[in-house]
């Protein structure tokens, strides 16, 4: 039992990790076929299973909340009801009255739900961000230090430079406009800083990958070590 819980996942991770790493450097037909088998079936099936696991986990979470009548359980009822309706109309080939097509095709009930319920709700959630960003900028964006001041000035320039108005705000007697200054900021200091961050992230990814391959990093198994 201990072997299945602790050692087998490490062995599987090591074998698949090394195999896929080696595959990248072996441009043979057998190597490509192995990759095709892995990506064309195994990896996609695993990803599908992960999706199912996510759905089951969400259902379990909301069902438990409803069963125990925890605070806000009414929202969970709405969530599960909507989930059930969308699965019903999207999965089963039913000709709903008033809709021309079945299942998920254009003109179906599912398509109607997506375009008339999901799209406006999702867009509304995201558009609320504009209101909160404006409020947060007003309240919290203070030039308290040199770094905060630099960030604040750069942020204001990029905000003005990334809209048509930025082309109209120019320094007299020069070719410099907010748009060109914003472009310089994005192409030079921003890129230099982000490239450094990227290199750091990728090197740490290599380190983490090696730790996982050699069984040093085991937190993905859910335990401490």
């Amino acid at each position: 039992m201990n072997f299945i819980r602790r050692q087998l996942p490490v062995v599987i991770a090591f074998c698949f990790g090394v195999a896929l790493w080696a595959q990248y450097y072996i441009p043979s037909r057998a190597s490509n076929e192995a990759l095709e088998t892995f990506t064309g079936s195994w990896a996609i099936i695993l990803a599908g299973c992960a999706l199912i696991l996510g759905i089951l986990s969400a259902i379990h979470h909301h069902w438990t909340k409803i069963r125990l009548k925890r605070a806000g359980f009414g929202y969970s009822i709405v969530t599960l009801t909507c989930f059930a309706i969308v699965v019903l109309v999207g999965w089963f080939p039913i000709q709903w009255p008033g809709f021309a097509a079945v299942t998920i095709a254009d003109g179906s009930f599912f398509d109607w739900i997506f375009l008339n319920v999901f799209v406006p709700l999702d867009a509304t959630m995201f558009s609320l961000l504009a209101f909160f960003i404006a409020s947060a900028a007003f309240r919290a964006f203070r030039a308290r230090s040199f770094e905060a001041t630099a960030l604040l000035i750069a942020g204001c320039i990029v905000m003005l430079g990334r809209v048509p108005l930025g082309e109209l705000i120019a320094i007299p007697g020069t070719n410099l406009s907010m748009t060109s200054i914003a472009g310089w900021l994005l192409n030079n200091p921003n890129t230099a800083a982000y490239r450094g961050i990227l290199l750091g992230v990728i090197l740490s990814q290599v380190a983490i990958s090696l730790r996982i391959l050699f069984g040093i990093e085991r937190t993905y198994m859910g335990g401490g070590d």
Partner: protein, 302 residues
């Protein structure tokens, strides 16, 4: 202490403690007013967007372009106009787009957008792109979970990765996929994304299969993709609604649609809201420093 405040001090503290509902109302007005009464500010396309446009223009007629529509309704105003403009450009140039999505909320919008473009009409009422056949001139593969696994799978075969298209038709029976069997046979990849997929398209698809890649992303993500653009890993970079508006201008969407296209229409509202936020930051900082000076001098006197 409150009795000793001058009118200027009262105003400063009132502004610093402004009810957020007033800010929300100002934002609302700044968004809606330009949409109702457009200003029509001009803008010039940037090099990053022109590079992407020119690459697509330079492709030979009949070339297959893989479009990954990795966005949902939340980022629709920034990315969907770009998707529509790109499809118009592809069909006008005789290119054959193969569309897929790696996000679950993507297929509905991508399918709707494709149908909108296919149903586009000329001013005389005739179809803008007549005679296009699914599976021959274009294909919509829909959604597949897996992200990078799907990208790797496409490098091996379209048919095994997507046995059926969005409508459930077998891809193996489509002439398009008999001719273009794998990602390496495509001439271009265009990822329109609101999520972090563009950086995965580089190692798992574009560089592996030696296919050029351009990216359209949200404005907030654009800054992080400049290193890829400068390194040539992204041939073009279309950032946010402004980038989409620039692409619309290059494609000539106003002439195609006979009205101001969506991203261009949003530019005025975005301009006004950005001015509001910048002004809010300046005003808040001014009164913040003034109030700090007052408090310091009062503390000194005490």
């Amino acid at each position: 202490m409150a009795e000793q405040q001058t009118p200027l001090q009262k105003m400063a503290y009132a502004i610093l403690n402004l009810d957020r509902r007033i800010i929300f109302t100002l934002v609302f007005l700044c968004v809606t007013a330009p949409l109702i009464w457009p200003i029509g500010m001009d803008f010039t396309p940037t090099k990053e967007v022109i590079d992407a446009f020119d690459d697509i223009e330079a492709l030979e007629s009949g070339s297959v372009v893989l479009i990954s529509a990795d966005y949902g309704p939340s980022s629709m105003p920034e990315t969907h106009p770009m998707y529509l403009a790109l499809l118009h450009q592809c069909f006008r140039r005789g290119l054959r787009p193969v569309i897929l999505t790696l996000v679950p909320s993507g297929p509905g919008l991508a399918n709707r957008g494709l149908l909108d473009v296919l149903e586009s009409e000329n001013p005389d009422g005739s179809l803008m792109y007549p005679g296009l056949t699914e599976g021959v001139d274009y294909a919509f593969l829909g959604y597949k979970p897996g992200g990078t696994a799907v990208m790797l799978g496409l490098g091996q075969s379209f048919i095994t990765t997507f046995p059926n298209d969005y409508d459930g038709d077998a891809t193996s029976k489509m002439p398009l996929f008999r001719e273009v069997s794998r990602l390496g046979d495509c001439k271009y990849i265009f990822d329109i994304a609101s999520v972090g997929y563009p950086e995965f398209w580089v190692p798992y698809a574009a560089e592996r299969e030696n296919v050029p890649l351009s990216v359209c992303c949200t404005a907030v993500s654009a800054a992080q993709y400049y290193p890829y653009y400068q390194a040539g890993q992204f041939k073009g970079l279309v950032g946010g609604m402004k980038g989409s508006a620039e692409y619309e201008q290059l494609v000539g969407m106003e002439e195609i649609l006979g009205k101001i296209p969506p991203a261009t229409n949003g530019m005025d509202a975005q301009s006004v809201v950005h001015i509001l936020i910048v002004l809010a930051i300046i005003v808040a900082n001014f009164f913040f420093f003034v109030s700090r000076r007052w408090e310091a001098s009062e503390g000194g006197r005490a």
